[in-house]
Amino acid sequence: MNDVLLSAQRLTKRFGGLAAVNEVSVDLWRGRIHAVIGPNGAGKSTLTHLLSGDLAPTTGAVVLGEREVTGWSPERISRAGLGRSYQKTNIFLPFTVWENVRLAAQSRAPHSARWLARADHFLSTNENASRAIELAGLADRKSRIAGTISHGEQRQLEIAMSLATAPQVLLLDEPLAGMGTAEAERMVQLLLRIKPDHAIMLVEHDMDAVFALADHLTVMVNGQVIASGTPAQVRADANVQSAYLGEGVQ
């Protein structure tokens, strides 16, 4: 069991009377991609927020590594080894690609509060940033302003920023949203590259990508899990077929 890096146990989040997430349990394993799918409003993003600390669960627990992190602030959970990307691109638009990732890497450096040294003179931070940029396939975009690169590249940048914080667990909220076929294919390749070292939760609508990537699938509808298992099991599940997948997916 020690390869379960993140475990969500019966998480519930209520907004007034509405349970946006209702008794959801998810385990994320190192080297595996766990996809969470479901129609809009199923509670996938809320679940992501609960795991990252952006929202506190009403009931239930989140265990990250060996520690229970339920109710921790996002920055504390981040430092405990969780990285995430956002459904809506959330980067530093006026900064260069390099500075976006360097800043992310700097968050892990003990020198982050230093006042008089130049920020770009710290070798280990620079190396971590370079590695993340390389891994995300953005090496030739380093000096571009983040706001001026393509949408697909901005999504890659999101991931590079998460990687630069050296997380064990990655929560990726629709990394393929709004991407063209070529961009989507590049993102799938990127996710396969980073998969071996991370426990990844992938929230995604692109079913081709989901079935290409996922080792495990959880299907949510109206805040609840209606099916969970390997892609083959989920595909065969009658509930899922009627509730969500429909006939478009074979």
Binding site: E75, L93, F95, Q106, A113, W115, R118, A119
Partner: protein, 333 residues
């Protein structure tokens, strides 16, 4: 627009030349100008230090404080309290004490205010500054509405601040040191973190930065530097009153930073000089018929800033940068 361009974090060569030219003028001024104007310039330099301290919050971190003058005034009062009636007090210990007093006040107030965001931050900083203002305004022990005199300028062992020329160069040196320090800080890990908070605090937190601590550190440092300016103000004018901590003083500092151009400290200096110069110029406007134009200087200042911000949101530095670029000088970005 990029951070470098919108905030001119990297100063193009044209602006660097302009600043260097300005520095030469400042060094030469006591020899070419009258005593009266040298004192005016010294006051501008003090306000420039004050404006730079605010720029650290406003331009770099994105925290618009409407109460920054509280820390400016506190250090001035600290000097007034520490100076005995009949003799001068030592500069080398009262200056650090005054700065520490302002810094400590900023640390305590900051502990509450940097938790808030946007409009609430503006409101709460203003509320705290008003509290400090009325604390001094209403208490006779603290000087009351009349304020306090600083009968003697602080005594420095190495030089005589009563000598106006010495005071001038002392102020100039401090302004340069503060500028160099803040420019260096801008490119440090701490400075980059503050810039990240300005652009996207949410993302900074998601990456593991405890933004509260960084904002509190910036608020404290800005308060301490405002205190440095306030101390010099008290020493120069020989007088402190609650208006130094008042709303108007805070608002003027914001206008100085906007006027010059935010986020690079050079703009704050230029803004402080320009603001004070315009202020004198508007106050000197003649009386035409029954209308005393000079009396309504605030109206003209307001109009000027509205027009400037509308057409040149990057302030005077931005205007200069654009003009020089048009002439084909791309600078060293």
């Amino acid at each position: 627009m990029t951070a470098r361009k919108s905030h001119l974090e990297v100063l193009p060569r044209s602006l660097q030349m302009l600043l260097a030219g300005g520095l030469v003028l400042l060094i030469a001024f006591p020899f070419i100008g009258t005593d009266f104007y040298a004192q005016t310039i010294a006051r501008m330099m003090i306000l420039a230090i004050f404006a730079m301290s605010l720029d650290l919050l406003q331009g770099v971190t994105g925290l618009v404080s409407l109460g920054h003058a509280a820390f400016f005034g506190l250090a001035g009062y600290a000097l007034a309290f520490l100076t005995p009636d009949g003799e001068a007090v030592g500069l080398w210990w009262t200056l650090p004490v005054a700065i520490a007093a302002s810094g400590l006040a900023a640390l305590v107030i900051g502990f509450f205010v940097v938790r808030t965001h946007g409009i609430y931050f503006i409101m709460v900083t203003m509320a705290f500054a008003q509290m400090v203002f009325y604390l001094f305004f209403d208490n006779k022990v603290l000087g009351g509405s009349d304020g306090l005199y600083v009968n003697f300028k602080p005594a420095a062992v190495l030089f005589d601040l009563e000598d106006k020329r010495v005071f001038y160069y002392f102020t100039l040196a401090i302004m340069l040191v503060v500028y160099a320090f803040l420019r260096r800080l801008l490119w440090s890990p701490f400075g980059r973190t503050l810039a990240g908070i300005r652009v996207n605090e949410h993302r900074m937190r998601a990456m593991g930065f405890t933004t509260f601590r960084y904002k509190l550190a910036a608020f404290t440092l800005a308060g301490a530097l405002a205190g440095l300016a306030g101390y010099l103000w008290g020493a120069q004018t020989g007088f402190v009153n609650p208006e130094l901590m008042g709303f108007q003083m805070s608002a003027h500092a914001i206008m100085m930073v906007i006027l010059g151009g935010m986020g690079n400290f050079a703009g704050a200096i230029i803004g402080a000089f320009a603001f004070e110069y315009l202020l004198l110029w508007f106050k000197d406007l003649p009386t035409i018929g029954a209308v005393d134009l000079g009396k309504h200087w605030q109206l003209w200042m307001g109009l000027f800033i509205v027009i400037l911000v509308t057409f040149a949101p990057r302030g005077l530095l931005g205007v200069v940068e654009r003009l020089s670029r048009r002439r084909g000088d791309s600078g060293d970005e």
